[in-house]
Symmetry: C2
Subunit: 206 residues, 2 copies
């Protein structure tokens, strides 16, 4: 049992790295197993298809990211400070990825959305659920900021979608230009999108 | 000569449709030739590789989009009205695509950025040039708006990047949710990102 669950972890980990580097379509099961150092027979013992593996990679990646986002967005800091920390952590994560593999790999969910969402409904649905959850988490924080009269938006859901869209768009450019400095306007743009009342104060509050 | 250039056009057109539907990695040359209705030998007469075809598809798509963007962004309308028209035309284009093939296909350049930019430097460089050109075009219009005191941003290049990033992010969500209504906040968000002085007036100026 120890060895088999180890093989499953190895497959998941190799698949995540390969998907981040090269996307999903370009990968074959044989290549994933070779990178994982497990026999191909193991693959179909754990995953009924390459799509099932992709869903497992997505779920595992989201489990980690959700933990990070929850920790940041539910902290004791003021709501706008929590959003600023979210962008800082995102930027740090992309920088670490660039240092370890040479290129900014971007957002796994954004990458798979543009590559895969029109091809398999199971992946589309899972990615929708994840972005819905992200928007929901950001919405809660914006709602708090609104109650404290720190922002002027009225449709907090729409505002949360726009903040996440800005994040995805800037991460896309960080990947294209292989430059994490592309992420530095995120905080000022978030304040602008939220119609924040006192951006200088909020910035100084860090 | 007439027949051969016709074959080249057929390959380009089939490749563009297939890349929009399914991405680049998942496609094979044989499949592209079958969809184009041309013998596989023709392919290598016109294109030395699948990558060369992808570059030709990108160039052709950009030639058309650049014509559209230039027409809109150099028109006689006020600068902010021109930006609004750009979003309206983008939304209309995505709606037309959805009506003709059932799903929102998104932005070809954004799709290929997230799928391909870390895999081939030739494609990365071409996509960088295209997004640089888009940002440059939007920057010119923002600079005009700034001269007319209609916006309050000071770094017009950074602002242009953020407007294009917001566009890419919202188009990503329009694709994921197969819903072009996701593009409707683009105009209000653009005004927020630019610190527009009188959004109501600008909106009424349409």
């Amino acid at each position: 049992m120890g060895r088999t669950s180890d093989a499953k972890e190895k497959i998941l980990s190799a698949a995540q790295s390969l998907i981040e580097l090269r996307g999903y379509s370009a990968l074959g099961v044989a290549e994933i197993c070779k990178a994982a150092g497990v026999p191909k027979g193991s693959f179909y013992y754990f995953f009924e298809s390459k799509e099932a593996l992709a869903l497992a990679v997505i779920d595992e990646h989201w489990a980690g990211q959700k933990r990070d986002w929850t920790g940041i967005l539910n902290s004791e800091a003021g709501p706008l400070d929590r959003l600023r920390q979210l962008f800082e952590v995102t930027e740090a994560g992309q920088r670490a990825g660039q240092q370890s593999c040479g290129t900014v790999s971007g957002c796994l969910f954004g990458n798979l959305t543009l590559e895969m969402s029109n091809q398999t409904e199971a992946i589309r649905t899972r990615l929708q659920e994840i972005f819905d959850a992200q928007v929901e988490m950001v919405d809660s924080v914006i709602t708090e900021a609104l109650e404290r009269d720190e922002v002027t938006v009225t449709d907090t859901r729409e505002a949360a979608r726009s903040v996440v869209a800005q994040l995805e768009g800037q991460v896309l450019f960080a990947k294209l230009y292989n430059n994490t400095l592309r992420l530095s306007p995120l905080w000022a743009n978030c304040l602008a999108l939220l119609g924040a009342r006192a951006p200088q104060e909020a910035l100084a509050g860090s």
